[in-house]
Amino acid sequence: MFTDFLIALTMLTNFTLVATSRVNKAIQLAVFQGILLGLIPIAMGLGKHLHILLVAAAAIAVKGWLIPFLLRRAVTQAHIYREVDPYVGYTVSLLLCAAGTGLSLMLAHSLPLKPGSTPTFLVPAALATLFTGFLLLVSRRKALTQVVGYLVLENGIYLFGLLLVEDMPVLVETGILLDLFVGVFVMGIVINHIHVAFDSTDTSYLAELKD
């Protein structure tokens, strides 16, 4: 019951994410979603496995503290507070996100899943979050918002991983976390470089590097 509530909140966060134009708020929402995801395994009653508890704690620490810390620093350094003029407007984004969520709900029914796994909202939520992350990555112009999209994408993968959480070795989960951290770290550096080179964090300038 409580799990479903958390999952529903996650999906609602997706909608808010695509509709927001302020960078700070997008980061806040991504952090919020990350913490929600960290709580889901505990709500699912998996707290009895020590390694799952540890990974959940690590996920909350990385997504709730370390990554926002890096991102906020990037925000203050690059002086970017708003996503102006995205490739895809906010209303259209919202509609696309809704379409993606609907598609996920439809697809999730007919996905060939491992027999024995209980049909929950977990699969559609994971797919919807994946789509949202991709939508943010594709439709936004500023590198920072794209990083947020990447975070949301990883959240979707994490949700999918929860399906297999009892079988998945701790190594794989920590691997995903490390991947996320390194990804954000590298993108932080890239943002800084774009800012220095083009005096803006608009990634469309990167097209000038094409040969």
């Binding site: 697809l107 789509f131 991709f134 594709v138 439709s139 794209q146 990634t203 990167l206």
Partner: protein, 648 residues
Amino acid sequence: MILFLLAVGLAALSGVPGLFGRDREGRTAAMLMTASAVLGTWAGVRVLLGAPAPALRLPTLALGSQGLLVLDPIAAWFLLPVLLLSACGAWYGVAYWHSPQGSPRWVRLVFGLLTAALAVLVCAAHMWVFLLAWEGMAIAAFLLVITEDRLPETRRAAWIYLVSTHTGTLFLFGAFGLLAGLTGHWDLAAWPRGFAATSQGTLLFLLFLAGFGMKAGAMPLHIWLPPAHAAAPSHVSSLMSGVLIKMGILGLVRLVAWVPDPPLWWGGLVVGLGTLSGILGVAFALGQHDLKRLLAYHSIENIGIILLGLGLGLVGKSTGHPALQALGFAGALLHVVNHSLFKGLLFLAAGSVGHATGTRDLEQLGGLGRNMPWTSAAFLGGSWAICGLPPLNGFISEWFIYLGSFRALGLPRWPWSVGILAALALIGALALACFAKAFGTVFLGTPRSAAAAEAHESPRAMLIPMAVLAGACGVIGVFPALIVPGLDRVVATLGPGLPGLAGLTRLPLLTGLALALVLVGLLLVRWLRGGRSTETVPADLPTWDCGYSQSVPRAQYSASSFADGLVSGARWVLFPKVHAAKVQGLFPRSARFSSHVPDPVLDRTLDPLFRLSVRGLSYLHAIQTGQLPVYLLYVLLTLLFLLIWMVV
């Protein structure tokens, strides 16, 4: 096994002291390589003398099978030239770098790593270990080829090498994957009887032949070999030509050992490849003007000879003819070692010429024998051996293959053996012509350029490795009986119940003849010297001035004019490109002449093909917008497509 592992470790780490600035010339690295060679040779020789094969095994089954490395007789046989040539190369490298542009430190480190990869590769008993060492070898060699990366032709050569070696590895991935899927384990082990004749067996054979043939440089797959050998530093070319390309042969030899009943056409195909590589290799060598390119085409020729022996042995295995197997395999295996010795020697000597004059262009050299007596002696010895003349080692291995071909003449099911004889004879004659051209143009006559006139003999660190290799050529050539016990043990692993070589080849007679020949040669030299010692000969006199009082170097036979009879005669295979102005009138204007022989596969087939495909593929530029979100959109669309495809 400890000895072997120690040798590998020493070789791999030999370049490390140089990184910390203590080892400026590379003497420490060379000493470490020598120590590695001594240890590894000890381990290898013990196996060849009959000690049980040491092996490294893993207790757990984590990698699918236990054995990782086995130093069996085949491995030991290939290990010896690897270690000898790399130690010689390391010492040679100490003095080879006269200019600060190269990066010897880096070269030394990678040279050691290449040696270690080669040593691991020959012993690999697990497919993963084999492929890891194979790729390690390929990448280390790529880094060494690209050492002088400021030259555009070096970069081109290195890229061609990288692409071809990975194409070869792709074939091997396919072959090993297929094999592991069929047998259920990753061991490099014998195939079940009857498997080779199935369609999967055929596919496996063709994949292995393509993968290993690419590395060995068999004729249609040789494209990387001439440019890479010409571009690499000389001790690297020597190691590449001497041992690296032999790893393709190692793979084929292993394949022969696994298969108990090869179909007859396998041997026929290998013989056909060998004939093609042998004859075309030497024919294209005749048309070259770059000394190292010429030697590289000779490597293709010698791979052809080795393949002839191997194919002959395979035919013997298919027809159940033990003497044929023993002679064919022994000839091929001995030629592997012999070629690594004399080709290593020739590349070192060619590097010595380049070191002294700064050029490898035959038309710029000439008369070096006067200033560089030791280098010219080394090059002469190597040429003598590579032409298969007694009393040096090239003769012995070709003799084995000749003997085998004569025995195969009586086979009712396989009438092609007379073709092997004809091919070997043709190869030998053309090789002699080619080395007469190379040696004559470089070391005899009068210098064709100022650089050649001011050439100086190389330092001792470069001469001693050459002397070691030349000595080894001489020992094998005069006393082949010394190596026969070891060779017998290697050959015995390739087929059941093979006879010993001593009974097949009359080696004592050969030794006697060789000694007589050496004696006659020494007497001849003494007689010539004795006859001339009364007069005083000015040192700067030209060899032969054609009766003119003042001859000029340009009036000599050049490399292209020397070979012109053969090259123009074989115009229908070689397609030489000649640029010459017609000389007209009584007082013609000054004219230039140049000719070169483009490679049939690389320059005439692949190059135009790739140019065409580049033009065709340029339309795909439209989807490369350079916008990051667009690329992500492609990913998203692919993901959606896959998801929907999976569900529907």
